[in-house]
């Protein structure tokens, strides 16, 4: 095959090129020609096509995402903001924490195990690239109905992939979500979060500066896996009769990644590199163009130097390959020997593939011929930007009008018992340990709290016991009913979950999973959700540090429920003071903090019992969330409460049942209002705490001080979950609840 050189491109301006097959639109292809003053070479076309894909360029979301910066709350905590591989937050004592969540939805549908595994691999390298030691991962997951046939294929593979890769890396998996809904049947969501820790002075950036500095590619060899994965998989909708896309999914090797992590950390410790970038989506195209674009000059790359697993790869394929476990570093020539020594110690392949220069161009040669000559910013940062049309769907008002208020509610004691059991055993609320027991939550020895607690928490310093807590949340039914409020509710819940462990919420990351941006209805959902989230972050004083947008999550014309997963990171001075939700003793007083209203639209009860979705979601109250958090943090710091649990999906009934199961004892609730509202409302800004009778008055005073309504609702003890209300009295053995709660997932997936 002849090489398509830049000279040939100039000489043959009218040659036909497969820009459409590579996912570019006609006007985008025309723009490339304007930038270059000629047609692109096939290698340049490959680079532009992957870097201008939706996944890499954020071309449909950029105009909206600006709000996260424009509305950012004033804070000294943010050390590195959006735009880098991951944001970095000051957590005190000279420590910085970086965290980010990313999607790997489409690859995980095509090939569940490898898709999910490489999702972990990619986010871990993003965190590593900031100079941090990765210390924990989490996985927010969404599947189709638990009993659907394809969920039987997808879920076990994804869970095994997350475990297989994450466990082998030696990173504790401390939380996440597992949610089932019909809308995800043909498009599951596999989001992966990683958190890393470093000292302030160790923060690294992806930049190639200093003429004469070397570009070193290290890690795994480059193979044919994942070629076109970015543009083909992440930016196109699944079609029932489309061609098989399996070859585009990357294959992961966690051992190589583990060794690469240790190798990088040793390199970082010696301070011998100028910049670093991981190779993820768009591979070498992305790493070289981003490094050069962030630097102060140009870069020349000799592509023949790239170590290959498959010698027959074309230069275009090498540029696009998404082979995993690779990194690219920029270093001064004097540090090369030491760099190579460390790589040799870890048996990591490393090779110089280029040099930084002052040309202002990214040039790439192959077999002595120039095949790329581009301004790097036009590839990496100046891609197309679309202001896509958006409009409220015609069906939205009817959806909002269809309230759950008129649905039949339980009235007799038997009906209440049945409702409790139905919800406790429903897939979304059932025990998830069939999944989470396949993840190592102990490795590194710093895990203070993990699933099923409200937030995962790890210690970051042995000597001080300082730690960080993270929760990810999103109730996509709420977002469907009202995307602006739904995104705020997702933030509210994650914020509350972090506070419910006693940690102070500090910063936000997100993974915005939506349908096709070319659908004005989806774009409306997206725009509303981003605006809602940005407004709420400003009010709560927690900046968005970065995140990820995943579009085209739909099957045919039907989009998933809009799912803006929000991750909140908090800090706690001593992890030993953290709160958990198991009831540790009999005779504790149960107190509900916050106000309970009759809010059932989009609730778990409406979903499970009536398969109903309509109305308006619970009304967010950000100021109340903030005050509730103050009460929980103070109470934890002062050791005032024995257990705490946030109230969200499934309301008070679900929360107290979980506290009973975790503590292996019963509880009696004495409700003053109607039992149904008390048990299953999903009003915001609420938590239930358990305190000793001696601490009760103090806690009530603390709540009053912060203007948080507080009501004593019961006591712990006995072997049953008992409810006494004016309109009904019933009781269920804790053993029965446990049986129902734990049987659901094994019955569906254990075979």
């Amino acid at each position: 095959m002849s090489i398509d050189t830049t000279a040939q491109a100039s000489a043959t301006p009218d040659a036909q090129q497969p820009w459409s097959e590579l996912g570019l639109k006609a006007d985008e292809y025309a723009r490339i020609k304007v930038i270059l003053g000629r047609r692109p070479t096939s290698a340049e076309l490959a680079m532009y096509s992957v870097m201008w894909s939706e996944h890499c360029s954020y071309k449909s979301s950029k105009v909206h995402l600006r709000q996260f910066g424009d509305k950012a709350p004033k804070t000294d905590a943010l050390l590195v903001g959006m735009g880098e591989n991951a944001g970095v937050v000051d957590v005190g004592d000279g420590y910085a924490v970086t965290f980010k969540v990313e999607s790997h939805n489409h690859p995980s549908y095509v090939e569940p195990y490898q898709g999910a595994a490489t999702g972990i691999g990619g986010i871990v390298r993003d965190i590593l690239t900031m100079g941090a030691r990765p210390v924990a991962v989490m996985d927010p997951l969404r599947f189709g109905p638990a009993d659907a046939q394809d969920t039987q294929r997808v879920l076990p593979g994804i869970v095994a992939g997350i475990g297989g890769y994450g466990n082998c890396l030696g990173l504790p998996n401390i939380g996440g979500e597992v949610v089932f809904d019909q809308s995800y049947l043909g498009n599951p969501l596999v989001n992966a979060l990683c958190v890393g820790v470093m000292k302030h002075e160790d923060i690294l950036l992806a930049t190639a500066s200093g003429t004469g500095n070397l570009v070193v590619l290290f890690g795994a060899k480059t193979g044919g896996d994942g070629i076109g994965g970015v543009s083909v998989l992440a930016s196109e909708t699944f079609d029932a009769d489309g061609p098989a896309k399996r070859p585009s999914v990357q294959v992961g090797d966690p051992f190589t990644e583990k060794v690469l992590i240790e190798c990088c950390l040793e390199i970082f410790a010696e301070d011998i590199i100028v910049g670093i970038q991981d190779l993820g989506g768009a591979g070498i195209s992305c790493a070289t163009s981003e490094l050069a674009s962030n630097g102060d000059g140009g870069m020349h790359v000799i592509l023949d130097a790239v170590p290959l697993r498959d010698a027959t790869l074309s230069p275009e394929e090498i540029l696009m390959s998404e082979s995993q476990e690779r990194m690219c570093a920029i270093l001064e020539p004097t540090n090369l020997d030491r760099f190579m020594e460390i790589c040799a110690k870890w048996d990591v392949d490393a090779v110089v593939i280029g040099t930084v220069n002052s040309s202002g161009r990214l040039t790439i040669e192959w077999q002595g011929e120039q095949i790329v000559d581009v301004p790097p910013r036009t590839v990496a940062h100046e891609g197309p930007v679309y202001n896509r049309p958006f409009s409220k769907p015609a069906s939205q008002d009817a959806l909002a009008a269809n309230s759950a208020a008129s649905l039949a509610r339980p009235t007799s004691a038997d009906e209440f018992v049945e409702t409790v059991l139905t919800l406790v055993g429903s897939p979304n609320l059932a025990d998830k340990s069939w999944i989470t027991s396949q993840y190592d939550r102990y490795v590194l020895g710093n895990t203070a709290s993990a699933t099923p607690e409200d937030a995962g928490m790890v210690r970051i310093d042995d000597s001080t016991s300082r730690g960080v807590a993270i929760s990810t949340d999103c109730n996509a039914r709420f977002t469907m009913l009202n995307p602006y409020l739904g995104a705020q509710l997702a933030l509210s819940e994650a914020y509350r979950n972090v506070a419910a462990t006693g940690a102070r919420p500090l910063a936000v990351t997100n993974c915005l999973n939506f349908g096709s941006p070319e659908d004005p209805s989806v774009m409306w959902q997206f725009s509303e959700a981003v605006t809602g989230l940005a407004d709420a972050c400003l009010t709560l004083g927690v900046p968005v540090t970065g995140g990820n947008v995943s579009f085209y999550n739909q099957t045919g014309e039907t989009a998933i429920l809009p799912t803006p997963v929000v991750g909140v990171l908090g800090v706690i001075e001593d992890v030993h003071t953290h709160l958990s939700h198991g009831l540790p003793a009999d005779g504790l007083t149960l107190i509900v903090l916050g106000e309970t209203k009759a809010e059932f639209d989009g609730s778990e009860w409406a979903h499970v019992v009536h398969a109903h979705l309509g109305g308006q979601p619970p009304q967010p109250d950000l100021e109340a969330e903030r005050q509730l958090a103050e009460v929980l943090i103070s109470a934890a710091t002062d050791g005032m409460v024995s257990a705490a649990h946030d109230l969200s999906d499934g309301g008070l009934a679900q929360a107290v049942v979980e506290m009973c199961l975790r503590g292996n004892r019963g509880a009696t609730l004495t409700l003053s209002g109607d039992a149904f509202t008390g048990l299953w409302s999903e009003s915001v800004a609420r938590a239930v705490v358990a305190v000793t009778p001696e601490q009760s008055a103090g806690l009530l005073a603390l709540a009053q001080h912060h203007g948080v309504p507080a009501a004593v609702v019961g006591t712990s003890g006995g072997s049953s979950f008992v409810v006494n209300a004016p309109d009904v009295t019933f009781s269920i053995e804790v053993d029965t609840l446990r049986e129902v709660h734990t049987a659901t997932l094994p019955a569906l997936f254990d075979h």
């Binding site: 082998c168 989470t436 490795v443």
Partner: protein, 225 residues
């Protein structure tokens, strides 16, 4: 001077720093040992930690067994040095034939991480002498290939000679023959255990403090030696 306990790091070892922490909390001095070394002159005992050495793509522990340091460890173990293999370390000890039998894929085919109840049945080995006979403990278990297997004659012999140091109780998590969680060699200085005692040594970071006794046991043996 407190005894020094080496912790080997193979490429892919994961719980090496955790084992070092446990050794420190037990009162000994942890020493990091790189897999490429053959020098054990600076340590009084060795821990082979958990993890996935070399990715464990062939058979767990099968490649680590050929690391340079293993030749030294095999010689030292035969001379009586206390050697403790945890999880992947247990697999390496079996592959090295310092312990009989093998660890195979869990019978349910999943990786499993849970707090596991054990009964300590041998209180004379280098790493279990601090326990009471039949003491019940809870420590984390986390593995994909933890099902202990050996021929019937070996199993009978292990039982008859008191070389089963711990058994799973309240439910066998992986199909291990005769509920075996850990064994020792005839001399009692080489011990393999599938669950992870190094993750039960600090309040707030594990289900109990039961794991610490494995490390204090070897410490008292070294001090009294």
């Amino acid at each position: 001077m407190s005894p020094r306990v080496g912790v080997v790091t193979f490429p892919g070892s994961l719980d090496d720093r955790d084992a070092q922490r446990a050794i420190r909390l037990a009162g000994a001095e942890p020493v990091a040992l790189w897999h490429g070394t053959t020098d054990l002159s600076k340590v009084d005992a060795v821990v082979l930690p958990g993890g996935f050495s070399y990715g464990d793509y062939l058979r767990a522990g099968a490649i680590a067994r050929f690391a340079p340091i293993m030749a030294s460890i095999i010689d030292a173990a035969n001379d009586g040095m206390p050697v403790f293999g945890i999880c992947n370390g247990f697999q390496v000890l079996c592959e090295s034939h310092l312990l009989p039998g093998a660890l195979t894929r869990n019978d349910h085919l999943h990786f499993i991480c849970r707090d596991q109840k054990l009964r300590i049945e041998n209180t004379t080995s280098a790493f279990t002498s601090g326990f009471n006979t039949n003491q019940e403990i809870v420590i984390p278990l986390k593995n994909g290939e933890g099902s202990y297997i050996a021929d019937e004659r070996t199993l009978d012999e292990l039982e008859a000679t008191g070389r089963i140091i711990a058994r799973y109780i309240d439910g066998n998590p992986n199909g291990s023959r005769r509920d075996i969680a850990g064994i020792t060699n005839e001399a009692g200085n080489v011990v393999g255990l599938m669950p992870h005692p190094e993750h039960a040594v600090e309040a707030g970071f594990g289900p109990s403090l039961d794991g610490l006794t494995f490390f204090t046991s070897v410490l008292s043996r070294l001090v009294n030696a």
